[in-house]
């Protein structure tokens, strides 16, 4: 297919490119919904409302990818794990950097137009570093959630604040780390803080005024549907059981959801229940933690839910980006495809939530099988024995990708990786860690290092390794696998020429053949890659960008 009629294709592409640059039109709601029709841009966190992280661009091909050259680098001045995904709009790139800065860059040269600096409140509480994963855009307004749980609207031409809204109280453990999602005239965000005993929610705000339009609590209050899954404490309970566990039940939101314009449903993955590991103090399934919720985008009303890990005691956050796949298994059913932290791949009817498929993509021993409704039969391991997958999961928040062309679902996975869980009683205190015990890596040698991010891979194959796994979403079966020595926290991009780009902890940025998994190109960027690649076009050139360490690298073919 690729390059068969390059002349015509490039002619059309060039005209569109020039027009969009010249017009510099506002990003309308219609443009967001039709993002795949303007492949030069990257308009949402995952590239489109279906969150496929697929770019139709095809100038870079399996044949010429080996000629990729570094075009520019932007270096962040702030140290720390940099997880941002840029937006690209008509030749402009917008990125977030620690703590809560927004930078506008020329997407072709990397030169900055402006920088907006927001200093989050000193009393902020975040578990895992000053992470921010990106922005949303509508009209000429950018939207950013902050570490201290504010939502800020910024003029994309000037970097000046238009409005700021407090989403939640930061000192109670609430934060926002994910990129918001704009649907029509609303900007939707959720709150992080699943390790601090928060009560999670997703809320929508008017894009013009910042006023809250609706709110959906991921933990129902007593009497609300789902509250029956926060069961009463048994009267004879010897261990501590919390009669008001729902008040600190977690269910955080820390990755961006998806949207189906036809159904007007927005899909969000929810985080772990609080406290993470000690199930005894919160009996029941603990809805809607470790679940996907499908909400009416206008009202926030729950249409359906599916809980991947009922009564989770493993910290199996289900915050993965929901990937919307049409015509599942050659049928007329459209699904949400989901590779979960709990090690299973799922297909769910995205209109009804019906469970269609569940199948492990890595070793799983916390459950053995599904019943017809998709409820897992749980098989807790004896005390001191390893649970697969481990605490960081078979995958985690790393963006997966789905290619319309290959019909394959691609996921960054951790294989042969397990944890030993140590549940213990936790009393909740506002704004402090609330984990209910802990866990450690399963390793053949007590005290062996785990999960280090140094240039030396000290935890080695003995504790697990990374892989990119290509799954057939119709069956959950593995089509191919690309194995790494270290683990990977990188997202995945696929393109219209059947290329797959991804990184890993080792710092390699690599291009694989999306059909076979064979390695076509790699470069050593020198530090762990903790974000997802994107692709965009300025003028006639296709670019691919990736963050490694403190630098954003942008590659293209030489002209």
């Amino acid at each position: 297919m690729i390059g068969r009629r390059p002349g015509l294709a490039w002619c059309v592409v060039s005209v569109i490119g020039v027009l969009s640059l010249r017009v510099h039109g506002q990003v309308t709601s219609d443009r967001l919904a039709a993002a795949p029709s303007e492949p030069q841009n990257w308009l949402t966190y995952s590239g489109n409302y279906s969150s496929t992280r697929y770019s139709p661009l095809n100038q870079i091909t399996p044949a010429n990818v080996k000629n990729l050259k570094l075009q520019w680098v932007y270096q962040s001045p702030v140290a720390g794990n940099w997880q941002t995904t840029p937006l690209v709009v008509d030749g402009m790139m917008y990125i977030t950097q620690r703590l809560n800065d927004v930078v506008a860059l020329d997407a072709a040269t990397g030169r900055a137009f402006w920088i907006y600096r927001y200093t989050p409140a000193q009393d902020r509480v975040v578990c895992c570093g000053a992470n921010n994963r990106g922005l949303a855009i509508l009209g000429d307004t950018l939207f950013m959630g902050t570490l201290d749980a504010q939502l800020i609207a910024i003029d994309r031409r000037t970097g000046r604040v238009i409005w700021k809204t407090e989403v939640a109280t930061t000192k109670s453990g609430y934060s926002i780390t994910h990129a918001p999602l704009v649907v029509k005239n609303k900007v939707i965000v959720g709150v992080g803080g699943g390790e601090y005993g928060i009560r999670g929610f997703i809320a929508a705000y008017d894009v013009t005024t910042g006023r809250e339009a609706w709110r959906f609590y991921t933990i129902p209050a007593p009497g609300e549907p789902g509250s029956e899954t926060w069961e009463r404490c048994p009267p004879e309970s010897k261990s501590f059981c919390d009669p008001e566990a729902w008040k600190r039940g977690g269910g955080s939101i820390w990755m961006t959801g998806s949207y189906d314009p036809r159904l007007n449903l927005t899909y969000w993955g929810t985080g772990n229940v609080g406290p993470d590991y000690n199930g005894v103090q919160r009996p029941g399934d603990n809805l809607y933690t470790a679940s996907v919720v499908a909400l009416d985008a206008d009202t926030g009303k729950l249409k359906w839910h599916y809980q991947f890990t009922p009564h989770d005691v493993y910290d199996y956050d289900s915050v993965q980006v929901p990937v919307l796949v049409d015509n599942w298994a050659g049928s007329r059913v459209n699904v949400v495809a989901w590779a979960n932290r709990n090690g299973n791949f799922y297909a769910l009817d995205r209109e009804t939530g019906k469970f269609l498929l569940g199948k492990p993509f890595v070793k799983v021993n916390w459950m053995s099988e599904f019943d017809e409704h998709g409820r897992p039969k749980q098989t807790p391991q004896p005390e001191g024995q390893p649970t697969y997958p481990g605490n960081q999961g078979g995958t985690n928040w790393y963006s997966p990708s789905f290619s319309q062309r290959t019909r394959l679902f691609y996921v960054s996975a951790w294989e042969d990786y397990a944890s030993i869980y140590l549940p213990a009683t936790s009393q909740h205190k506002e704004g402090t860690m609330f984990e209910g015990g802990g866990q450690r890596n399963n390793s053949p040698v007590p005290g062996a290092p785990g999960l280090g991010r140094s240039p030396i891979n000290t935890w080695t194959e003995a504790a697990g390794h990374g892989a990119v796994i290509a799954l057939d979403p119709a069956t959950g079966r593995e089509k191919w696998k690309y194995t790494m020595t270290d683990v990977t926290d990188s997202g995945i991009l696929t393109t219209g020429s059947d290329l797959l780009f991804t990184g890993g902890r080792e710092g390699y940025f690599q291009a694989l053949d999306a059909r076979t998994g064979s390695l076509l190109w790699k470069t050593n960027l020198g530090a762990a890659i903790n974000s997802g690649p994107i692709s965009y076009r300025v003028g006639n050139r296709q670019y691919v960008s990736i963050v490694s360490g403190l630098s954003l690298f942008v590659f293209a073919l030489d002209e």
Binding site: L422, S443, P446, W459, T460, T485
Partner: protein, 253 residues
């Protein structure tokens, strides 16, 4: 600290009475005994020999309201307490020891342990034990095996002790022996220093550093068995205690 290190080989330490707290490891007798010396050096001034010198705090209980699992207890010790306890920046060996001791303080009887002798231990390490034939300590010894100059700050007392008797059980996976055959037939045996998907870094048995591209290798194997001999039966219990005391004194520069 020097000279106070104790030898606890063969010591059986019963769990504290009452509910056994959840913990990360079976506490080795060597860690509990070594932890007693850390306690004597850093904690006893305020908490007292019986662990009850501060009102409302009874360390001998082995269970703590704000530190249910060891990681909580470690965090508490590192951060200190608003109630007045200062933060303690303990190295890994000292931390493993103090955790083991605090969890077992009630059952631990210092009278059952006998101190090893660092000076005698050093003589065995350099002489009869021939440890420096493979290991480096400061400026002496071979680079082929893992460097021991800071082993007393990096590994727990229990782990060092077990390492002397069953080396494979305590070999860190990064240190696994590697054998490669390059495309031209050259054989290189060594110890792994680092590895990624495409490359391998090792130190060979002639103390030379190699960075190898895996695609250029004909053979590449990683062994899970340590090349270190066991000292079980080679050294007496007393000698092993002396060696442990010496190794625990190696804190790096």
């Amino acid at each position: 600290m020097r000279g106070m290190v104790v030898w606890t080989f063969g010591l059986t330490v019963a769990s504290a009475q009452g509910t056994v707290p959840p913990h990360d490891n079976q506490y080795a007798g060597a860690d509990i005994a070594y932890g007693a010396t850390v306690y004597a050096a850093k904690c006893v001034t305020c908490h007292g020999a019986q662990g009850d010198a501060i009102g409302g705090v009874n360390l001998r209980s082995g269970t703590f309201r704000n530190a249910v699992i060891d990681r909580d207890l470690e965090r508490f010790i590192r951060n200190g307490s608003p109630a007045g306890m200062p933060p303690f920046a303990l190295n890994a060996t000292d931390m493993a020891g103090i955790l083991a001791y605090l969890r077992n303080m009630n059952a631990f009887d210092p009278a059952t342990v006998k101190a090893g002798d660092e000076a005698r231990g050093r003589a065995i390490v350099l002489g009869k034990g021939a440890c420096t034939g493979c290991h480096r300590i400061d400026l002496d010894g071979s680079l082929v095996g893992p460097n021991l100059s800071d082993i007393g700050a990096a590994r727990s007392a229990g782990s060092i002790q077990r390492s002397l008797l069953d080396p494979t059980s305590q070999m860190m996976p990064i240190n696994r022996p590697v054998r490669v055959v390059t495309k031209d037939g050259t054989i290189i045996n060594g110890r792994r220093l680092n590895e990624d998907t495409f490359t391998l870094q090792i130190i060979d048995d002639h103390e030379r550093l190699h960075s190898l591209v895996k695609a250029d290798l004909r053979e590449f194997t990683i062994a899970k068995t340590s090349p270190m001999p066991s000292y079980k039966g080679e050294l007496s219990d007393e000698e092993l205690g002396d060696v442990l005391a010496y190794l625990l004194s190696l804190k790096g520069r």
